[in-house]
Structure formats: structure tokens, C-alpha cells
């Protein structure tokens, strides 16, 4: 699974992208956020409030209860501030 980070999520995690193998119990987007939060200091800071993190799977916005696909690009970022 490819993960990409943007804005302060990227800054706190410390890198833009990474490829991870997820344990079997990580099924939904919400599970992924909890799993990431436990990966270390930067991750803990980035995902301290997982409910505010926005997620896109293969470049489409998804809700936190969405099931993760077997493969693909999952983007994690703060609420957008475009326009």
C-alpha cells in the first residue's frame, strides 16, 4: 500500500510518501489512522486527532468507515484550504 502525506501531516510524519505492508486487522481507513498513530513520535503528532484527517484513496475522497482496497494509493492530509 502506498501512502502519501500532505501539508502538516507530511511535515509531522517527516516524509512525503512511503510503502507499507498492513497487518490483517487493519481493514478500514479508521483502522489505518489508528495504526499509523502508533508508529512513533512524528506519526503520533500527525494522527493525534484522527477524526480531522482527510483521506483519499486513488485520488478520491473517502469516509473513515471505508474499507481499504488490497492495493492502491492512500493519501492522508489535513482539511483542505484551497480556493
Amino acid at each position: 500500500m502506498k501512502l502519501v502525506y500532505f501539508a502538516w501531516v507530511r511535515e509531522r510524519v517527516g516524509h512525503e510518501t512511503e510503502t507499507v505492508s498492513l497487518p490483517g486487522e487493519v481493514v478500514t481507513v479508521s483502522d489505518l489512522l489508528d495504526w499509523l498513530k502508533a508508529r512513533g513520535e512524528g506519526y503520533a503528532a500527525a494522527f493525534a486527532h484522527p477524526e480531522i484527517i482527510r483521506v483519499a484513496i486513488d485520488r478520491k475522497h473517502v469516509a473513515h468507515d471505508m474499507e481499504l482496497p488490497p492495493d492502491g494509493e492512500v493519501a492522508l492530509f489535513p482539511p483542505m484550504t484551497g480556493g
Partner: protein, 157 residues
């Protein structure tokens, strides 16, 4: 004369020229009675801001804006729609985003431009970071609750 493809979406670092974009969209077309442009610019907030840095998700930005533009085309009878969103470092007084909406009638063009901007603010994958004139480290701009409320209003309709 009617144009074939009424949606033009671009994500770019460069500035845009509004007259040129209107010409591109509406040109000599004789079925367009109203052209609305909305330009969002970088403000200095009483001298506090030296610049905005716009980060974006390149693969997703155009796709997502095009999706929002298609939704506007479904809701309003539009002759054409252009959306240009810049990224990178933008100084106070410079342009950030442009929406051009063309229609037979005015209200459709005005409402579509308003709708587009509400959705761009909360759905297009862009993030603004402030650079301060004081030299202190700038912050990421916080999303506003009122932006989400603006979206909710369109969903009710």
C-alpha cells in the same frame, strides 16, 4: 456557434490573464449573455503576511476540480466553465484562483461561480501555509467551519 467541451480545468504555477480566459471560453459565441469571473487573491492581512505557499496533490487536484465543475454543469445551464488554480509561492496582491462561468442568463453564471468556490475551498486538495513578514515560522491555514457550512447549504438545495 457552440463549443464542444465546456469544461477547462488547469492547475499551474503560472499566473493567468482573465481577458484571455474569457476570450478562450466565450470568444465570438453568440449564445452567451453573461460571463462571471471570480478571482481569489492573496491578501497581506494588514502587513502580517509575506506570502502564501500553496501545496497541492498533483495527481488529484485536476481530477477533483473537474468533478466539481461537472457537478456545476449538471446543476446550472452553463455554456462553459473554466477553473484555474495556482500552486507554489504566491505574494500579496497576486492571483490564486480563477473561475469563469458563462451562461445565457446571469443568475446561473453567478450561482455556479459561488458554488464552485465553496467546493474548491473544502474539496480541492490544496493547502495554504503562511509566510510571515516578522520572519517567525508561519502556520498552515486552518480550515474554517463556515466553509463546511457553506457546502451544507448547497446540499440542501
Amino acid at each position: 456557434m457552440k463549443a464542444a467541451s465546456p469544461i477547462d480545468v488547469r492547475v499551474q504555477a503560472e499566473d493567468f490573464d482573465i481577458s484571455a480566459e474569457i476570450r478562450k471560453l466565450a470568444g465570438e459565441r453568440t449564445d452567451i449573455g453573461a460571463v462571471v469571473t471570480f478571482t481569489g487573491r492573496c491578501r497581506d492581512e494588514e502587513g502580517r503576511l509575506a506570502a502564501l505557499e500553496l501545496e497541492h496533490y498533483p495527481d488529484m487536484a485536476e481530477t477533483e476540480i473537474a468533478r466539481i465543475a461537472r457537478e456545476a454543469l449538471r446543476r446550472w445551464n452553463l455554456a462553459g466553465l473554466t477553473v484555474i488554480h495556482r500552486f507554489g509561492r504566491i505574494l500579496p496582491g497576486q492571483n490564486i484562483v480563477l473561475v469563469v462561468a458563462a451562461s445565457t442568463h446571469r443568475k446561473a453564471a453567478l450561482e455556479a461561480a459561488d458554488f464552485l468556490m465553496d467546493y474548491l475551498k473544502s474539496r480541492a486538495p490544496f493547502w495554504k501555509k503562511e509566510h510571515l513578514t516578522s520572519g517567525e515560522p508561519g502556520q498552515w491555514v486552518n480550515a474554517k467551519t463556515e466553509d463546511e457550512e457553506a457546502l451544507a447549504q448547497w446540499r440542501k438545495e
